[in-house]
């Protein structure tokens, strides 16, 4: 009797897990399917290679090159800024402070809270900060605000992989007479696949977020050539095109969504490639 119950229990939970996996895959396929179905007919070379012409949002000629370049600028800038700040923080709390240090725990608690803050709050904060500093909606404003959004994501995932690292490597390095800084450099090499995953998560979130750039980066039909100029972004471009009453423009929004998805996929694949190259020297 007990054996039969166990058998059904095992079967039931196995089915539940398979069903969950299928639902997740189904949702993904449904989203991508919808975007491709609606956007593919409107996707052409002009969409990728041209700036929006006059009346683009009313169905006339042009593309979203301004938003593609703007998004890449913002994500690259914010990524540099957040790597520059996140890596030292994570290395400090993991390797410079003693285990279970109060300061390290408070820092982790802080970026756990920041992780949960909605992006519109960062947008509003970035906007207030820009007014205070006298900066208008610009590439710089967008970079700073998106950096604030992605920094907790990067720090958290980097902290997770760092905490999983066995103590053997730091101990081996310290016992060779390495300073903590020298030790950190080697450890970062070891953690490179984890760093790349953290960067990917951050990029995925940063490039697709509309709320942070809405007030801070502004929107323009041109490609910015200075940090103080406004910059268009793909999420906002999709938002504006979807808001158009013209069906053709709405379909272009889906085409823009394909472009955004492909950019994320390309970044993901290239990061995975470099990650596997690095991990060949990994323990």
């Amino acid at each position: 009797m007990r054996a039969t119950i166990k058998k059904y229990e095992e079967g039931f939970f196995k089915m539940l897990m398979i069903a969950s996996a299928l639902i997740i895959m189904g949702v993904l396929i449904f989203i991508i399917g919808t975007i491709v179905y609606k956007g593919l007919p409107s996707l052409n070379w002009d969409m990728i290679s041209k700036l929006p012409g006059g009346g683009f949002y009313l169905g006339k000629e042009g593309g979203v090159l301004n938003a593609i370049i703007g998004s890449l600028y913002i994500v690259a800038g914010s990524l540099m800024l957040s790597i520059f700040l996140s890596v030292p923080v994570v290395m400090y709390i993991n390797f410079y402070l003693p285990k279970n240090s109060l300061f390290a725990n408070i820092t982790r608690f802080c970026f756990d809270i920041l992780f949960g803050v909605p992006s519109i709050v960062y947008g509003a904060f970035g906007f207030a900060l820009m007014i205070y500093l006298g900066i208008r909606a610009s590439l710089l404003g967008g970079i700073i605000t998106v950096a604030m959004l992605i920094m907790p994501i990067m720090m958290r995932s980097l902290d997770e992989v760092t905490r999983l690292l066995s103590r053997d490597l730091p101990d081996a390095l310290l016992s060779l007479g390495a300073t903590k800084y020298e030790m950190t450099k080697v450890i970062l090499r070891q953690l490179m696949p984890g760093v790349i995953t953290a960067v990917l998560l951050a990029v995925g979130r940063g490039i697709g977020d509309a709320a942070t750039v809405l007030f801070t980066a502004g929107y323009t039909d041109n490609i910015p050539n200075a940090l103080n100029q406004p910059a268009a972004t793909l999420p906002l471009s999709i938002f504006f095109q979807l808001g158009s009453p013209v069906e053709e423009v709405q379909n272009r929004a889906y085409a823009s969504a394909i472009i955004l998805t492909v950019i994320i996929l390309l970044l993901s694949f290239s990061a995975r490639y470099f990650s596997s190259k690095f991990s060949k020297t990994k323990i």
């Binding site: 053997d168 101990d171 016992s175 007479g177 020297t281 990994k282």
Partner: protein, 280 residues
């Protein structure tokens, strides 16, 4: 007592205080290398090492044995100040290396660690090539010239008997080596910083018998130049390679004696029980 003191200590006194005899069997004194005085280590609320007094002779192999949790590895870590990295660890007492207390206020921790080459339980190659693994230590300590680095790498790889096995693939990642080869590489890496001591923390416990034999042979060869302190679980290994044995139990040194004497004529009942396998 001062650095490099040569002393012959009365056997009864040695066993009572836990001090290491110099060479009572042959009656020939051996220069003393490390002297531990009233060493107490607390980790949190636990008293791990209790009033350790020990003298470790120079250019000999000293094996520290004892059941799990007796404080062997904790003791080894006090020698290269690796406990500095853990806040909960409180250390009292002195460890004199060539007469200088390594826990003294003016001691440079990096210099102390540089003197003590550590061979850990599991080989831990650095995430870089075989060449860079050996060159890493000399590089961070200031050796930059390529020719000198090449020489150092070859010399130490030869020393640990790895050169012939890896000479065609020295630029490949160290992780592609077998576990036994990795452990010898780690030994070469440790030797390349030119330490005076070699600390081994169960350095062969993850290895197969052939690799273990190679490492043991290396230790015997290395004692001509270095003072070697090994923590081991294997009594047979201690008997094979050690010159001196220190038996620890519950954070205390129970008995310390030359190998033959320790195994053939143990003085303490606890030692006899441990050797007979009554507990492990």
């Amino acid at each position: 007592m001062r650095a490099n003191d040569i002393q012959i200590v009365n056997m009864q006194e040695i066993l009572f205080t836990g001090f290491m005899p110099d060479n009572p069997v042959a009656g020939m004194p051996v220069p003393l290398s490390i002297r531990v005085e009233h060493l107490n280590v607390h980790i949190g609320n636990q008293h791990i090492l209790k009033d350790i007094n020990l003298t470790i002779p120079e250019k000999r192999i000293t094996c520290i044995i004892g059941p799990s949790g007796c404080g062997k590895s904790t003791f080894l870590k006090t020698l290269n100040r690796m406990h500095d990295e853990t806040r909960e660890v409180k250390i009292k007492g002195s460890i004199f290396v060539h007469g200088e207390d390594i826990y003294g206020p003016k001691v440079n921790v990096i210099d102390t660690r540089k003197k003590m080459g550590l061979l850990a339980q599991r080989p831990c190659p650095l995430p870089m090539s075989i060449y860079d693994n050996v060159a890493y230590g000399p590089r961070i300590h200031g050796l930059k010239k390529r020719k000198a680095l090449n020489q150092t790498v070859i010399q130490y790889l030869q020393y640990v008997g790895l050169w012939d096995e890896v000479r065609g693939r020295i630029r490949t990642p160290a992780t592609r080596l077998s576990i036994g080869q990795q452990q010898r590489l780690c030994l070469a890496r440790g030797l390349a910083i030119e330490p005076e001591y070699i600390l081994g923390d169960e350095a062969t416990s993850a290895l197969d018998p052939i690799s273990t034999k190679k490492i043991e042979e290396l230790f015997v060869k290395l004692k001509e130049k270095y003072t070697i302190i090994l923590v081991t679980h294997t009594l047979r290994q201690a008997r094979r390679i050690a010159d001196y044995i220190v038996f620890m139990y519950l954070g205390k040194i129970i008995e310390a004696a030359p190998t033959e004497e320790f195994f053939d004529n143990p003085k303490k009942q606890l030692t006899k029980d441990y050797l007979s396998g009554s507990f492990s």
